[in-house]
Amino acid sequence: MSDFKIDLKKNSTELVMVFTGSIDEDVQFPNVDFSDVQSLVFDLNQIKSINSVGIREWLNWIKPIAAKFPIQMINCPKSMVFQFNMVEGFLPKNAQVKSLYVPFYCEKCDREENLLFKVGEHVKAQEQQVQMNFQVSDFKLCEESPCELEIDVAEAKYFQFMKK
């Protein structure tokens, strides 16, 4: 029995789709009525995991949709960002990532945090280079001063999909 579901919310001609659960061999992507829809927003924050069969099911499902509608992906978890970078077509050409979670770690507190980066504000791609523009203090997470939260991914690899 799959724990996967998509909740829908229509804002005028924009359809927001909130994904929850695991994308695996039991996933069943629902038939969605795209009448009067001009654009899509995929909120991926609650995706728990994705396996190899899930990757295939995602590719099969998203390809025809991306051919018709521009898609904005928001609140993308690390597991989905890895797929954007690793699997061609997982982030279709007609889709853009608007926000994604970036792992951070504080050696002093032995603490991990996932910070939500907004593309265009905290990170952007310019001429095949990825530039980051953030202060950890902006996220108001750590009361220790100075905060020692550091990015915990290889930046060039993690944001590779933005260069494509």
């Binding site: 029995m1 724990d3 695996d24 061999e25 995991s49 396996n51 190899s52 069969v53 990757i55 295939r56 590719l59 099969n60 690390k78 597991s79 690793m86 699997v87 061609e88 077509g89 997982f90 792992p103 770690y105 991990e112 990015i151 915990d152 991914v153 290889a154």
Partner: protein, 269 residues
């Protein structure tokens, strides 16, 4: 008393196109790329590739020696050769039938993995790896995705067992599956994994929805630091992989990979 010849260790300084490694040899690499070990296995019949930059280089060489010199013992008790209980800080084992609810089984092992100290950065990968291994064992081996035989009769699932393991030392976590089908073809698997590296993952996906996607083993190999495969044809398949403990996410790829392969048929005498 017979003296067992120690496996030959070969430095992978340069390998010619035609070179084929003798069974019982251990190829020592030096900070090689992830795809190199698979290439050596697929194109040059290397069965044991151990990198000097591996987290546990000496232990990996010992594992290779034991798999070469004691294959029957390894097939009988693989986890004892990979990480003996005497050296383990934490241990988990669970027997499942092939039709057992996968989520329940994985839920149990996820609780164990997340409770082991130092798994924060690798827990998701380790559980994902077990998902792939368990799915391959229980579904692809036992249940043939509605396949039919030559007469058009639906193939029935063979009853079988899947056993999942997780064991942690001070510096690494070992997870794996043993099934009672023994259907894995190691040569084909190495070709598939190499294909993912050389042609891309998307190009390697099997789009036939009546079977697995064909990239699961690549995902396991790519995310782990050591990969162990052993098959007793039509009897048993053993798959394990290892992850480092207490390592930050951005340093996970700093350990070069080790690969160990064994196909062995016991004599009937």
């Amino acid at each position: 008393m017979s003296v067992l010849k120690l496996p030959q260790q070969i430095l992978a300084q340069s390998v010619s196109e035609q070179e084929v490694f003798a069974p019982g040899s251990i190829l020592i690499t030096q900070n090689a790329e992830s795809s190199f070990a698979v290439k050596m296995a697929s194109q040059h019949q290397a069965n044991h590739i151990v990198d000097e930059k591996a987290l546990n280089f000496e232990s990996e060489k010992l594992i290779a020696e034991n798999m070469i010199l004691h294959p029957v013992e390894f097939l009988n008790q693989p986890i004892e050769y990979l990480l003996p209980e005497s050296e383990a800080e934490f241990s988990f084992q669970m027997k499942c039938s092939s039709t057992e609810n996968k989520r329940h089984a994985l839920g149990q092992i996820e609780m164990f993995v997340r409770a082991v100290p130092g798994t924060k950065s690798i827990a998701t990968d380790a559980i994902a790896a077990l998902d792939e291994m368990y799915t391959n064992a229980s579904k692809n081996s036992g249940v043939f995705y509605s396949k039919v035989d030559a007469q058009g009769q639906l193939l029935q699932a063979r009853a079988g067992k899947v056993e999942v393991f997780a064991r942690a030392s001070k510096n690494h976590l070992l997870v794996g599956c043993v099934d009672t089908y023994g259907l894995l073809k190691i040569d084909s698997l190495m070709k598939k994994i190499l294909g993912c590296y050389e042609n891309g993952v998307a190009q390697s996906i099997n789009m036939n929805q009546e079977a697995g996607a064909g990239i699961g083993s690549f995902l396991v190999y790519n995310s782990s630091m050591s990969y162990y495969l052993a098959v007793e044809p039509n009897k048993k398949t053993i798959i394990f992989c290892a992850f480092p403990l207490g390592v930050r996410t951005k340093h996970l790829n700093s350990f070069a990979k080790c690969l160990h392969l064994l196909t062995y048929e016991r004599s009937s005498t």
